[in-house]
């Protein structure tokens, strides 16, 4: 499998606090990789370093090499907006723009100078399994949608830009079981076109959707591998304790 996204000797600290310690990890193309581990282990920090969301925190110090294929994501001559166009992101809490459903999809296309006619919008919404539910209400403010619909809209918004990678930061943690299953279906379907890295607290979810799983603890990668191996035959004792619910 071709490596799409990778981190080499990655260290991240906020002020004096080191959050990630010497991370070496890679994510294969068109696969779903789950990042699991107890709260505060650095999963989200790792995820957000790939689309340079830490650029916003003045006290973040990032050392190491992050790559999208061969592209150095932190190279001086690479515009951050280009990276975020190629590496999309879906957040923990659905955060649609305070605009209409239509505008939510069109906005990202507009600012990236991509075509944003109705067909493109429809295609993105269809890909996120949302079109049938909203096709008659495209002018409605997106905030009126249900939580699950809002999250699928956020996925449609990311998909519309035709990214190569989609990062998902606990996308289902605020949703009910039915909406969660819908989103999981959607994620599995998106795998055909996109490389997906998903942070999750939900062990069952990781087992249901992820091809590979990475277990992190206190800022380090403790174990990584094929999901069924990690859950059925963990090599590391820490991993075994965590997935069996002894801590976390």
């Amino acid at each position: 499998m071709k490596t799409k996204l990778s981190a080499e000797n990655l260290n991240i600290s906020f002020g004096d606090k080191q959050v990630l310690k010497n991370i070496n990890v890679s994510f294969a193309e068109k696969e779903i990789t789950a990042l699991i581990g107890p709260s505060g282990c650095g999963k989200s920090t790792l995820l957000r370093s790939f689309n340079r969301m830490h650029d916003l925190s003045p006290d973040a110090h990032i050392n190491g090499i992050l790559r999208l294929e061969d592209l150095d994501l932190y190279a001086k001559n690479v515009p951050v907006t280009e990276i975020r166009k190629r590496i999309g992101m879906v957040f923990q809490k659905a955060n649609p723009f305070p605009k209409s459903i239509y505008e939510n999809i069109a906005y990202g296309l507009k600012i990236n100078n991509l075509p944003h006619d109705k067909e493109v919008i429809q295609k993105a919404l269809e890909e996120a399994y949302l079109w049938d539910e909203v096709k008659n209400d495209l002018k409605m403010p997106a905030t009126r949608l249900s939580g699950g619909q809002q999250q699928r809209l956020c996925i449609a918004r990311a998909v519309a830009l035709r990214p190569e990678v989609i990062l998902m930061d606990e996308p289902c943690s605020a949703l009910d079981p039915v909406s969660t299953l819908k989103i999981e279906e959607l994620i599995k379907h998106l795998k055909k076109k996109y490389t997906i890295v998903i942070v999750t607290h939900n062990m069952q979810q990781a087992q249901r959707i992820a091809d590979k799983t990475v277990f992190m603890y206190l800022g380090e990668v403790k174990e990584e591998g094929i999901t069924s191996d990690i859950f059925n035959h963990p090599k590391n004792e820490m991993t075994s304790n965590y997935i069996n619910g002894h801590f976390g």
Binding site: L56, K85, F91, K93, P98, Y107
Partner: protein, 285 residues
């Protein structure tokens, strides 16, 4: 017994709070009643459409109305762009260091400076140093300075209420920081910003002290509305009719009428702020 004392004390607490509220309302009603009952009789179309005549004992108050409207307009044109941009800088761009904290504390302190001090400052800066003379523009800029700290503070509060996840949403689809602020943050914060702006302007429109030395005139005969000349303003007109006029008793009804018009203008501005908030809330949900 224990039960009964509890009940009694809760009645006392409730009664104290209620009576305080009622006393406040009582004074408010007395003030409004005093102005409305004595001012309503002089209120008419002529009163607001005619200029003062015969030593201000006859005619209307059109000249001070025009003056106040133009004055508020100049204040707005000066204070809104500077105030909003300053707030955007402080909330979105400035790092949290001692310099930013000093700037922010200074702005908060400025909003506590008495308005007469602004009047003196305006006299020194705009009227004398910059040679604007006592004029509409000098007074408007002085009121603009007075309004700046309020606009900056309310705008900053409105921006603070926008959660970071909203900013991240725009950045994650490839928006630059400026695009994020322009297209997502500002529209989300608009109701809060506009409410602060309108309330600040309604306060500025009623100010007397800052325009006293910078451009407000006792009386203007003939045409008005030139920004390089003196002007009449409602609050100053009211002050003058009530205390400085040679036949105070004769002009008392005009004074009350002026007070009523001023209250109505401020009330309408507040109503606008209320409407803006209502409209944006409706759009948001």
């Amino acid at each position: 017994m224990q039960y009964k004392t509890n009940k009694l004390s809760s009645v006392i607490e409730w009664g104290t709070l209620l009576s305080t509220t009622l006393i406040v309302c009582f004074f408010l009603i007395v003030i409004i009643w005093e102005i409305v009952s004595k001012g309503a009789s002089s209120l008419s179309w002529e009163f607001i459409s005619k200029v003062p005549s015969e030593g201000m004992t006859k005619g209307g108050i059109l000249t001070p109305i025009i003056g106040t409207v133009l004055l508020t307009l100049i204040t707005a044109l000066f204070a809104i762009p500077f105030g909003v941009c300053c707030a955007i800088y402080l909330n979105e761009y400035a790092e949290n260091n001692w310099l930013t904290r000093t700037i922010r504390a200074s702005i908060r302190n400025l909003s506590g400076v008495p308005s007469i001090i602004y009047g003196l400052f305006g006299l020194a800066l705009f009227v004398q140093a910059l040679q604007f003379g006592t004029s509409l523009i000098a007074a408007g800029l002085t009121l603009g300075l007075l309004s700046l700290p309020y606009i900056i503070t309310t705008t900053e509060e409105a921006l603070k209420r926008i959660p970071n996840s909203t900013r991240e949403a725009a950045l994650a689809v490839g928006a630059t920081k400026f695009e994020t602020i322009k297209d997502v943050v500002l529209p989300s914060a608009m109701s809060g910003i506009l409410t602060g702006v309108v309330l600040t302007l309604s306060r500025a429109a009623g100010e007397t002290a800052p325009i006293l030395f910078t451009g407000a005139a006792f009386y203007i005969n003939g045409s008005t509305g030139y920004i390089n000349q003196e002007f009449m303003a409602l609050p100053y007109h009211l002050y003058m009719l009530s205390t400085q006029h040679q036949s105070i008793d004769q002009v008392r009804p005009i004074a009350y009428g002026t007070a009523l018009v001023l209250v109505i203008v401020v009330f309408l501005l507040n109503l606008t702020a209320f409407y803006i908030r209502y409209k944006y809330r409706k759009n948001e949900n």
